[in-house]
């Protein structure tokens, strides 16, 4: 009598079974319902081996609920675990909620609907709809757009200022020159060029020197060491194959 294709999920199955008990949903026997559902799933599985997981999850949950309902409640459980009776109430609530929504849905589609029961003007006359577009743009937006445009297209600035940074090539050249003068471990930062007052250039020098040091270490011309984890000083020493 129950065909899986007609159901919209395990809750829908439960609701149909509950309706078959022919009592008020508030007075439904959850124990009986659990039995009916488990029986339903067993029967269906013989035909539908690939029964969707959510049906099986519900079956497992109901089997658990059933055992809880049948056994005497153990001594007071942890506060956050619902009692068996509460679990049953929660299920009843879900069923009532779904039932309400199904009833409302039917109520909606059975209303006098446009195009089926109620009709619009069949031969609308030209009501010219003149739409005035009011654009939400302030003078600020306009000026900001223009300024951004000017900044963006003034790439010339970049050509002037870019060389102000200390490049990896610069750092590489500088370190290479110093290779012979660092026979013992010494702090890498001691080899940084000095750009007093130009923090940006100083930062670029630090980054470039570090990269240059890595490159030289890779070539075996320099050795690197850092003992204290991140942010601790990095030490350098001339490598084995130093030129």
């Amino acid at each position: 009598m129950l065909d899986l294709e007609g159901f919209e999920g395990p809750l829908d199955v439960l609701l149909t079974l509950a309706r078959d008990q022919k009592v008020d949903l508030a007075k439904i026997s959850i124990l009986k319902l659990a039995d009916q559902y488990l029986e339903f799933v067993n029967r269906i599985r013989q035909r539908h081996l690939d029964l969707a997981a959510e049906y099986l999850v519900m079956a497992a949950w109901l089997a658990y609920l059933k055992s809880r309902l049948l056994l005497p409640e153990p001594e007071p459980e942890q506060e956050d675990l619902p009692s068996a009776a509460e679990m049953a109430d929660i299920l009843a609530f879900r069923l009532r909620r779904l039932e309400a929504m199904q009833r409302l849905g039917t109520g909606l589609v059975n209303r006098a609907r446009l195009g089926r029961d109620v009709f619009v003007r069949g031969e609308p006359e030209e009501v010219a709809v003149v739409t005035h577009s009011l654009f939400d743009v302030q003078l600020f937006d306009l000026l900001k757009a223009y300024s951004d445009h000017v900044v963006r297209t003034s790439v010339r600035t970049l050509h002037i200022e870019a060389p102000d940074l200390y490049s990896v090539e610069d750092a590489l050249r500088r370190l290479e020159r110093m290779l012979g003068t660092m026979p013992d471990w010494s702090v890498l930062s001691a080899y940084l060029p000095s750009f007093q007052g130009d923090a940006l250039k100083m930062k670029s020098a630090m980054a470039s020197t570090f990269i240059a040091a890595l490159e030289l270490a890779k070539q075996g011309r320099l050795q690197l060491r850092q003992d204290g984890g991140p942010y601790s000083p990095i030490y350098v020493k001339t490598g084995d194959v130093a030129a």
Binding site: E8, I90, R96, G105, G115
Partner: protein, 220 residues
């Protein structure tokens, strides 16, 4: 209702509404009349005059339209627009959205106890009955759904407050889309469901569909 108005104003509003197939906005209608006249009075009188007729003036939120009287439903052999048969899932989901809006996809699935199959929301969206209603201010910022003006028009509702049984359901605590355990457990504490249709507009920012660089893509 008893304020006086120029009968000529009634004729103008009547003609404009009659000529149009789509519901027209009350403010746009007001623009048809001199600034000092009250379009509300005119509309109320027009609605009264058409009350018992074969064609009625109906309100759809803040819009108005003439529609054939619903009680004539079976007696009008008028070519019906092809109304697609709605699946059970679609009907259920539409009801859940209508009564619990704004609502996220996850909440719809919670109420139904099953994952939403792929085309269901699309179908309702395409039919013009639902629309995105901003994002929930919660982790993941999920999109929320609500009904559109087309929904009211199609199902003959004046406004969302007009949804049948809305109050009873709310009182019964059934308009609560939280996971059942929370909804059940908190019911005693809250007294009422957290979804209050009246508050919706204030709580949630509408989704701004034009909120990208090329907002006016229609013109491009």
């Amino acid at each position: 209702m008893t304020d006086s108005f120029d009968p000529e104003h009634l004729r103008i509003i009547e003609a404009v509404l009659f000529a149009s197939a789509q519901p027209l906005d009350e403010r746009d209608l007001a623009d048809k009349l001199p600034a000092d006249s009250d379009v509300g009075v005119v509309l109320a009188e027009l609605q009264r005059q058409y009350g018992g007729r074969g064609v009625n003036l109906v309100r759809r939120e803040h819009k108005w339209a003439f529609r054939t009287a619903p009680d004539l439903a079976g007696r009008l052999t008028i070519e019906q627009t092809q109304t697609r048969r709605l699946s059970r899932a679609a009907i259920e989901v539409l009801a859940i959205i209508a009564y619990n809006q704004p609502i996220t996809r996850a909440e719809i699935e919670e109420v139904r106890g099953v994952a939403l199959s792929k085309g269901t929301l699309d179908l309702l969206f395409e039919a013009g009955w639902i629309r995105p209603r901003g994002r929930r201010r919660s982790p993941g910022k999920p999109l929320q759904w609500g009904t559109s003006d087309g929904f009211l028009d199609h199902f003959g509702l004046e406004s969302l407050e007009d949804l049948p049984n809305l109050k009873e359901l709310k009182a019964a605590g059934l308009l609560d889309t939280r996971p059942a355990a929370d909804a059940y457990g908190n019911r005693a504490v809250d007294g009422l469901s957290p979804v209050d249709i009246d508050d919706v507009a204030e709580d949630e920012p509408e989704l701004d569909l034009l909120d990208d660089d090329d907002g006016l893509s229609l013109a491009e």
